[in-house]
């Protein structure tokens, strides 16, 4: 008796692994010419529009009406590498080695101008209104040198933020609260010991409280120490349709000091007064600043600010303006990646080949996200240097950006595009209609951003809210400029300031996408294809 072996095909059984699914979806993606072209167009749009904004953003200043236009100067750089404003009136003496300086402040008053500049032939302070700015500052300072941007530590009274100790531009610690008057003066003391400077304040000259200790790197053995006064630009931004207009002008702070005492080696015989400023300072004419000494009493008037600079151009955001165009292109591809299957009936084949529908959608999402991330990474990495080069050629100073921030912006932009494409895929699965899905995603991401940055459409509260809860919050990953509580500025989305931290904003988009994707999986499983 012979047994017949049943026929078996010598081809191996097809495997149902996730890798196979990924491969299938990748094959679909790469063989549809329109999608490959679309992805290329997205990259070209990001780079091209970045180049366009860079090429059409000139910056120039004229020192006199007839002189040729010069490139806008870059602000001085602080010890941390950031741009700073370092402009004040300095009454100083060298201090050799360790020592301390103590003084009593009995008054702080100010003047401000609601119009910029001054008319030649008139006193620089003519037409100014009495009044202090919240961050008008006067007090004692120890600074490595008189160079702008040099390391320093200062203890000061302010217009409406009490006593403060600030050092190296970005650090700010609060001391005694309340305004300084003749009835409630403030004693201030700075003590230098090697690289450490400690600030103490007191309301009566007998009981002292430590405010803070600054460790300044590379402080030379002989430093400049003394009294200072400064007062930042007065500015009121009124938003109206068509744009926001800022009115404002320079301001002046005047402080009265007495009971000055010093310890340590002070080699110079007398005090030197000097206005520290340059063309970017936005300070009042040096002629209005100065100091008077009568007996033990000093009166110091100064204008400008000692703080991080917030007026700089956010060059990274300008060079990435094309992200929005790229975003629209990748959302289109994301939506069509699924709606095209419905339109052609291909979805039935796809789902018959792999009946576990959730995995099909997951494979699509992975392929789409990977391709978009790669394309976005290349586009952003090209667009930023190209755009910055063009901005620089047009006279714009380029703010220093750390390598880590640069990486955050490039990777963040690529991730933003990838997640937005997946959001398109999820909404496309839900709606099965391309027009509706494309509109829903674009209106959900681009429109809130547009409404938030265009001045004069919505009130400030609504603008902040829009870039907090809608997917547009993700554009916070492109923010390279920082908000400082010790600097008054117009911190709005239109100026590039987002209310959420970069990756928190990105998480908002991810949350929306996760929600849409979960709904899409649920619906895809329940529904007939």
């Amino acid at each position: 008796m012979t047994t017949l072996a049943p026929y078996r095909s010598d081809r191996q059984a097809g495997r149902d692994g996730f890798t196979q699914l990924l491969r299938a979806e990748w094959t679909k993606f790469r063989t549809v010419r329109g999608w490959v072209i679309g992805m290329t167009v997205a990259m070209l749009l990001i780079v091209g529009l970045g180049a366009l904004t860079g090429a059409n953003s000139e910056c120039g200043i004229q020192l006199t009406p007839t002189s040729p236009s010069l490139a806008c100067p870059a602000p001085p750089t602080g010890p941390g590498g950031e741009w700073v404003t370092d402009s004040f009136y300095f009454v100083r003496q060298p201090l050799a080695g360790n020592g301390s300086i103590t003084v009593r402040v009995t008054s702080l008053t100010g003047l401000y101008s609601t119009h910029g500049g001054f008319t030649p032939g008139q006193s620089p302070t003519s037409g100014m209104t009495p009044g202090l700015q919240p961050w008008s500052k006067a007090g004692i300072i120890i600074k490595a040198s008189t160079r702008q941007g040099a390391a320093y530590a200062a203890l000061m009274v302010t217009g409406s933020h009490g006593v403060r100790m600030q050092w190296d531009f970005t650090h700010d610690v609060a001391g005694l609260t309340g305004k300084v008057t003749a009835a409630s003066p403030r004693w201030l003391r700075l003590t230098r010991s090697g690289g450490r400077i400690t600030g103490y304040d007191s309301a009566d000259g007998a009981h002292w409280t430590r405010v803070g200790t600054a460790t300044l790197a590379g402080l030379p053995s002989t430093v400049q120490a003394g009294l200072f006064a400064t007062s930042p630009q007065y500015s009121v931004t009124s938003k109206s349709l068509g744009g926001s207009s800022s009115t404002g002008g320079p301001t002046l702070a005047t402080a009265a000091f007495d009971q000055l005492s010093r310890q340590g080696t002070w080699p110079a015989a007398r005090w030197t007064g000097e206005s520290i400023q340059n063309v970017t300072s936005q300070a009042l004419n040096p002629a209005a600043q100065g100091y008077r000494q009568a007996g033990g009493r000093f009166t110091v008037s100064g204008s400008g600010d000692i703080a991080p600079s917030t007026a700089d151009i956010d060059s990274v955001r300008h060079t990435l303006a094309g992200t929005f165009a790229g975003l629209i292109a990748v959302v289109l591809i994301g939506v069509m990646f699924i709606t095209a299957e419905y339109r052609r009936g291909m979805i039935r084949t796809t789902l018959a080949a792999s009946p576990r529908r959730g995995r099909v959608l997951a494979a699509k999402a992975v392929v789409l996200a990977a391709v978009t991330f790669a394309a976005g990474l290349v586009a952003a990495a090209v667009a930023i240097p190209l755009g910055e080069y063009l901005l620089h050629e047009n006279g714009n100073p380029i703010p220093p950006v750390s390598a880590l921030t640069w990486l955050q912006v490039v990777a963040g932009t690529a991730a933003l595009l990838a997640v937005a494409a997946v959001l398109g895929l999820a909404v496309g699965t839900l709606l099965r209609r391309s027009a509706g899905a494309v509109t829903a995603v674009i209106a959900g991401i681009v429109l809130p951003y547009l409404l938030a940055i265009t001045p004069g459409i919505l009130p400030a509260g609504a603008e902040q809210w829009l870039v907090r809860v809608t997917p547009a919050a993700a554009f916070a990953v492109q923010q390279t400029i920082q908000q400082y509580p010790q600097v008054t500025a117009d911190y709005t989305p239109g100026n590039g300031y987002f209310p959420l931290a970069p990756w928190a904003g990105f998480a908002v988009l991810c949350a929306w996408t996760a929600l849409a994707l979960a709904l899409a999986v649920f619906v895809l499983r329940r529904r007939d294809a």
Partner: protein, 257 residues
């Protein structure tokens, strides 16, 4: 006229059209009401344009109108219906003209409802937040010339957006690509112009932008600061719409369906 009747039947019997038009009106009015309600201006010291704030919803409503207009022609391409339509009416420009007539009529009606609701809601809500004639703001009533111009102009704006979308859809055929192109042209200009720092270029981009220039029609205050007059602005959008329709008609005429 038979062609118009045929197009009307098609539009009327599609299940989505009614819902979309209703959504366009509801979203326009709702966004306008939310914007008006979010105004905080105690004492009336802030500069804002009451008509523009109440009509903010148009920014979103136009996207829904664009879906309707794009679907009117792209839907036919995706189902193959276009071959039947063109066989029935061999004069192809007539098909496009009939579609344009039907879509713009539907949009005008929807737009009128949406704008009327926005202005009424805006009047009540802004009045509650201190934006009223008592503080020197213009009354938000259709009786005043500029507000009437803003309201009527916004209705026309929506109709022009519909024609623009129809033209683009006739040219590119695929609905996803068509809506993508329309929304990109509407939303990208203002974003790019905000990123360019040269005031001259910014002005040029705003003058060219179909959305920014077109919405100048809503301005009732500070007209002098605009790069174009309100009607010139609407004219820019009309030029975009005419250009898109022309391109669509030519491609429809000379291309295989």
């Amino acid at each position: 006229l038979t062609a118009v009747h045929a197009e009307w039947t098609k539009l009327r019997t599609l299940p989505g059209t009614g819902w979309l038009l209703l959504a366009a009106a509801a979203l326009t009015a709702a966004v306008g009401a939310v914007a008006a309600n979010s105004v905080t201006c105690p004492g009336g010291g802030c500069q804002l344009d009451p008509a523009k704030v109440s009509l903010t919803g148009i920014d979103l409503g136009q996207a829904v109108v664009a879906i309707v207009a794009v679907t009117v022609i792209s839907g036919e391409y995706s189902t193959g219906m276009i071959r039947l339509t063109l066989a029935a009416t061999p004069r192809r420009w007539l098909v496009l003209a009939a579609k344009a007539a039907v879509v713009s009529a539907a949009t005008l009606v929807t737009g009128a409802v949406a704008v009327l609701a926005s202005v009424l809601a805006g009047g009540v809500l802004l009045g509650r937040h201190g934006i009223s004639t008592a503080y020197g703001y213009q009354a938000l009533s259709l009786g005043s010339g500029p507000v009437l111009r803003a309201a009527a102009g916004s209705v026309l704006y929506l109709a022009l957006i519909a024609l623009f979308s129809l033209g683009v859809a006739a040219a590119v055929r695929d609905s996803a690509v068509a809506i993508g192109v329309v929304l990109a042209l509407l939303y990208l200009f203002p974003i790019i112009s905000s990123a360019v720092t040269s005031p001259g270029w910014q002005r040029h981009l705003e003058q060219l932008s179909p959305m920014t220039a077109g919405l100048y029609i809503q301005a009732t205050a500070n007209l002098g600061s605009l790069p174009l007059t309100p009607w010139q602005g609407l004219g820019v959008l009309a030029a975009w719409a005419a250009g898109a329709m022309l391109a669509g008609a030519l491609l429809l005429r000379f291309r295989d369906a």
